[in-house]
């Protein structure tokens, strides 16, 4: 049971990632798609951060008497990933605005109707 509790966060992370993928691919509203994309990215970031964690470990700054430090590398990687996700979200929002300008709607089905 204790073991299971220690692994609980992985379950939550994968729930987030799957939720994000489901929303991105199957929701019809473009804004909802973008929100789902962000949820999924947060899931991936949590996954990396939880890899770096060690019990009773300190931040990776040299401290006298410290036994363990958390791994700083995944944190550094995720800083970059956050920037990347910011840029992608920006592009997605710009595209969404352009779609709204051209079709007057943000619902995928409605736009597909218009195209026919």
């Amino acid at each position: 049971m204790n073991m299971l509790l220690h692994q609980l966060h992985y379950g939550i992370i994968f729930a987030l990632i799957l939720l994000g993928m489901y929303g991105l691919l199957l929701k019809k509203h473009f804004l909802k798609k973008i929100i789902a994309m962000n949820i999924r990215q947060v899931g991936v970031i949590f996954l990396f951060i939880s890899l770096a964690y060690r019990k009773n470990a300190l931040a990776p700054i040299e401290t006298p008497g410290a036994q363990f430090y958390v791994n700083p590398l995944p944190h550094a990687l995720m800083l970059t990933a956050i920037v990347v996700s910011l840029a992608t979200t920006g592009v997605a929002l710009a595209l969404m605005l352009k779609i709204h300008e051209n079709y007057g709607s943000l619902d995928e089905e409605e736009i597909l109707e218009q195209q026919r």
Partner: protein, 482 residues
């Protein structure tokens, strides 16, 4: 440090970046700025020179390694250059020079800037040894693609680019999750480090590499995951799509090649994973040409044909033999040049007769003999007519399949050749035996910047068979022994 030649390694990236920034600075100006054009040309020509000189140097020297900030392998990001990698860099810089010559005067300044940044990310993806660094370049590449593929005059392109973005971010995050598995197990992100650390018998490693492979099969548009490619290529300007279709999806194939041939070696598990990919590629080879033959838009025909041609690369990799590897590499070069030529033809058609309808090809022979010749050669090479490189790809694939007893591969290649006859012969028929009377072209004869890149691409296509010898010399590189 003795020669200082390894300082050339990141130079191509730096030059493309300078070109991109120079073009971004003048985006608000409507009139042409000569200085920036000059800088762009210099950057393109210099990066081609750098790559060719590295190619010559590596002919009789050891591969180079470049440490960013002087940090060696497990700590810092490293670039690794052997003849193999630099050949692909030369391909990128040649194609970008051709594509720039063709389209620089029609592009808005921001698209020009994106074109340079795209080039930078391609060099980065080919050279980098660090998995996370690859991810960053991949995202830079994707963002450039979103910009280049959306065409303000075609509102549908925004929809297709949005769909592309959705699929692409899913693929990228699958790659990232796979990376998390591999990192948690091996504790390193450096490819040359992982060679000794990774063991595919371990379940997390297997899951990690498997997720990466699924991500890449989306990115390279293998069959059930190909739908994004048709819409995005079919709705955007052919002048941009030419460069993108010819090189971007191939860079992911090159990375797969690196993962499987240089990092995982000849392990049984790795080959099993690759053979699953191969099965997807069989479907693409056999089915995509059938779908291509039903399309009316030339861009969509070319998009379906890209899917089937990338299938050949993956089948070559999945063979797991050195002949299969040669076939895959030759196919990368062959398809890049062929697709660039055909997209130039499509763009020329659009600018002369106003649409990408394949029936406009009937006007080509009277319009320009050179373009018709290049188009025919490219199409014949796609089918695999003997003196052209497309034939050698299929020949080597069939040879390799025969020695290993992969009879399905032979059957699939035969079916693929048959079905690709459907769309290539249809195009040739339209060109030489038109059903509709010839319509006068709206504008005059094409300029030099249409002729020159098509002529150079034609010459490159003809000379590619000479690559076979180079491929044999690459086989002596220990890192890519299959």
């Amino acid at each position: 440090m003795k020669h200082g030649i390894e300082q050339l390694v990141p130079l191509a990236i730096l030059l493309s970046f300078i070109g991109g920034m120079a073009n971004a600075l003048v985006f608000h100006r409507t009139k042409k700025s000569v200085g920036v054009q000059f800088i762009s040309w210099v950057c393109l020509l210099l990066s081609l020179t750098v790559n060719i000189s590295m190619w010559r140097y590596l002919g009789h020297h050891k591969p180079l390694e470049y440490f960013f900030g002087g940090w060696p392998a497990p700590w810092g990001i490293t670039f690794y250059v052997d003849r193999f990698a630099v050949a692909f860099c030369t391909l990128v810089s040649t194609l970008s020079l051709l594509s720039w010559t063709y389209s620089f005067h029609k592009q808005p300044a921001l698209h020009r800037s994106l074109f340079f940044i795209l080039q930078m990310s391609l060099y980065g993806m080919i050279l980098t040894q660090d998995f996370f660094n690859f991810y960053v370049f991949l995202e830079v590449c994707s963002i450039c693609l979103y910009g280049l593929l959306s065409d303000p005059n075609e509102p549908r392109s925004y929809l297709s680019v949005f769909r592309y973005l959705a699929v692409n971010t899913v693929a990228a995050s699958l790659y990232l999750i796979g990376l998390a598995f591999v990192y948690s197990q091996c504790g390193s992100l450096n490819m040359s480090d992982l060679v000794s650390l990774i063991d595919l018998e371990d379940l997390p490693n297997k899951i990690g590499i498997g997720l990466m492979v699924v991500g890449f099969s989306i990115k390279t548009a293998l069959f059930p995951l190909h739908f994004w490619l048709i819409d995005t290529y079919g709705n955007s300007k052919a002048q941009n799509t030419g460069f993108i279709a010819s090189i971007v999806t191939k860079v992911f194939c090159i990375f797969l090649l690196r993962i499987f041939y240089s990092m995982l070696g000849h392990g049984e598990e790795a080959l099993k994973l690759l053979s699953y990919l191969g099965i997807l590629a069989w479907v693409s080879i056999a089915l995509a040409p059938l779908l291509a033959s039903k399309q009316k838009d030339l861009r969509k025909i070319l998009a379906y044909s890209s899917i089937s041609q990338i299938g050949y690369i993956i089948v070559g990799l999945a063979e797991g033999s050195s002949l299969g590897l040669y076939a895959a590499i030759l196919q990368i070069f062959h398809h890049a040049v062929v697709k660039l030529t055909l997209f130039f033809v499509a763009d020329e058609m659009n600018s002369q007769w106003g649409s990408y309808d394949v029936l406009h090809m009937a006007n080509l022979p009277k319009h320009s003999k050179l373009i018709t010749l290049a188009c025919c050669m490219a199409l014949l090479s796609l089918i695999g007519i003997p003196p052209l490189p497309g034939f050698f790809v299929k020949w080597m694939l069939i040879q390799s399949a025969m020695t290993q007893g992969h009879w399905v591969v032979i059957a699939i290649i035969a079916i693929g050749a048959m079905t690709s006859l459907l769309y290539t012969l249809r195009m040739i028929e339209i060109m030489f035996f038109p059903h509709t009377p010839w319509t006068e072209s709206s504008s005059s004869k094409p300029h030099w910047n249409v002729y020159a890149p098509i002529a150079v691409a034609l010459v490159l296509l003809m000379l590619q068979v000479g690559l076979l010898n180079q491929l044999l010399s690459w086989s002596q590189l220990t890192r890519y022994q299959p």
